[in-house]
């Protein structure tokens, strides 16, 4: 690779291996109208997610007749909904021949799966993989836009917690990741509750009863001398909570 870079090769392109996370449509049988209805319905649940995504048709659980399998219709229905069918996975020789006829790429099926067990067969074609793709992104951030009142507890068990309002005295906010409070932090804030020592706490005015990162905590009394009532970030350095003003960060 460095060769090409140094010799400024005049090649038009270079082939590289790439692995891309994709959505697979597990097709159980095919009926044109039902297919498009179900597709629209799925898209309406998350229009942004499905827009212009590549899609592969998985035939590993296909039970319908080969003669009913019309890839041109499938491609057409998907195009109308801004989804690009790029290939098929699995399927028998006849099915793969049909796919090739529709200019679709052929991908090997998942050998382990046998056509026999399909206990979790749910509705007709289900885009099987939104979850895998979502997992690749950062863990979900929880955003709260109303004040967290005394006695309330807000918990973000997986990702960050963003609060666009005050956290009142007697309230408690917890997150596996960072905590941002765009308002005064008067209650308790516990970041990195599963042990993430890199987690931080940010707030616009530090008036907290207690702050904690990965189990290391400071109470109000110990916070009075550093950044009290001002915008700060709090992080863990050498097992010590360090409060630093935000404007000098």
């Amino acid at each position: 690779m460095s060769d090409t870079a140094t010799t400024r090769a005049q090649q038009v392109f270079q082939l590289k291996s790439a692995s891309v996370s994709m959505t697979a449509l597990e097709l159980y049988y095919f009926d044109n109208d039902e297919f498009e209805d179900t597709l629209r319905n799925k898209i309406s649940q998350a229009p942004g997610f499905f827009r212009d995504i590549p899609l592969i048709i998985s035939l590993e659980k296909y039970e319908g007749l080969d003669s009913e399998l019309d890839f041109f219709k499938i491609i057409g229905a998907c195009r109308r909904n801004n989804i690009h069918v790029i290939g098929v996975r699995g399927g028998n020789d006849d099915q793969r021949r049909l796919a090739r006829g529709a200019s679709l790429a052929l991908m090997p099926g998942n050998g382990q799966r046998d056509r026999g067990h399909e206990a979790e067969a749910e509705t007709v074609p289900a885009p099987a993989a939104p979850e895998p793709q979502a997992v690749k992104e950062a863990p979900v951030t929880k955003v709260i836009s109303h004040p967290v009142r005394s006695g309330q507890q807000i918990h973000a068990p997986e990702g960050d917690l963003v609060i666009l309002a005050p956290v009142q005295a007697g309230a408690e906010v917890l997150a596996a990741g960072n905590i941002h409070v765009y308002g005064p932090l008067r209650g308790r804030a516990l970041a990195g509750i599963h042990g993430a020592e890199s987690a931080r706490i940010f707030c616009q005015s530090l008036e907290a009863e207690l702050v904690s990162i990965a189990g290391h905590y400071k109470i109000s009394e110990d916070l009075q001398n550093s950044g009290w009532k001002s915008a700060v970030q709090i992080q863990l350095r050498d097992d010590l909570l360090v409060v630093a003003p935000l404007d000098k960060a």
């Binding site: 109303h146 004040p147 967290v148 009142r149 005394s150 006695g151 005295a169 007697g170 008067r186």
Partner: protein, 270 residues
């Protein structure tokens, strides 16, 4: 559909019943058919402040338990004829207020009244939860001191999580802050929180500031809602609050002691 307004605070003794009496009287005086319901089962006070304690035959709990009809229990106010009082029971337990029972009564009241004012008991237990459960709006009565503010904050959290509107995912209960027993002199001396302090902490719109006044105590003892003392600053402050509740814009008064020249000299001199 009636508007259901709960008067609540978390903390006791801040002026919920005084406020319920005055707000409901003020609404009725403006021609709105209003009922004020006492939710403080076992510590019945509203009837005293409304001066109808000698006319109580049946109460809220009797209606819930089917022992009396709503019309038998409702007491018509003698001063304002669009105002009715639904007194509570002094002998029962708070648990007598079942969710279904309260709903039935509220629904029936909704058919004929414009405003239903629910006078909540102190605390955050069953009685208080029942009083706020069906509310469309909440008047949070707060005194300018830290523990009252903290309790108000707690009740605001409960309004946003345990009311019917919260449970059904409807538009949240509309919140109003009413500061009572406000003494500008003591604020100036740093003995009390200022309006700005309380507004900053609770972050909800201010409905009104009721100045601390001997008139409030006197009128309570005489069974007269203080809003009817139209000469007093507390009475006028409640009148302003009712006007704002109905959407009128009125400037806040009685927040500073600028009128010292007149009122306080008179009181201090006397």
């Amino acid at each position: 559909m009636a508007r259901i307004i709960v008067v609540t605070s978390g903390k006791g003794g801040v002026g919920k019943t005084t406020t319920s009496a005055s707000i409901s009287t003020g609404l009725a005086k403006r021609g709105h058919k209003t009922v004020v319901v006492d939710f403080d089962v076992g510590l019945r006070n509203l009837d005293l402040i409304m001066n109808c304690e000698r006319r109580v035959v049946y109460d809220f709990v009797n209606v819930i338990q089917g022992e009396a009809s709503l019309n038998q229990a409702l007491i018509r106010d003698k001063r304002v004829d669009t105002l009715y009082i639904l007194p509570t029971s002094q002998t029962r337990e708070k648990e007598a207020l079942t969710k279904e029972g309260v709903e039935k009564v509220i629904n029936e009241l909704s058919e004929t009244f414009d405003y239903i004012v629910c006078d909540s008991p102190a605390g955050i237990e069953h009685g208080a939860l029942m009083a706020l459960y069906y509310a469309d709006e909440a008047i949070v009565v707060t005194n300018p001191e830290v523990s009252s503010v903290r309790d108000s904050d707690r009740i605001l959290g409960i309004l946003q999580s345990k009311s019917r509107r919260a449970e059904m995912g409807q538009e949240p209960v509309k919140e109003h802050l009413l500061l009572t027993r406000y003494n500008p002199d003591r604020v100036e001396r740093g003995e009390m929180l200022s309006v700005a302090d309380v507004e900053e902490i609770l972050a909800i719109p201010l409905l009104g500031v009721i100045p601390e006044s001997q008139v409030v105590l006197n009128s309570s003892n005489q069974g007269m809602p203080v809003i009817l003392e139209t000469e007093s600053d507390a009475g006028q402050a409640y009148d302003d609050a009712v006007a704002r509740l109905l959407g009128e814009e009125r400037e806040h008064r009685f927040m500073t002691n600028q009128k010292k020249g007149f009122f306080s000299r008179m009181f201090k001199g006397g």
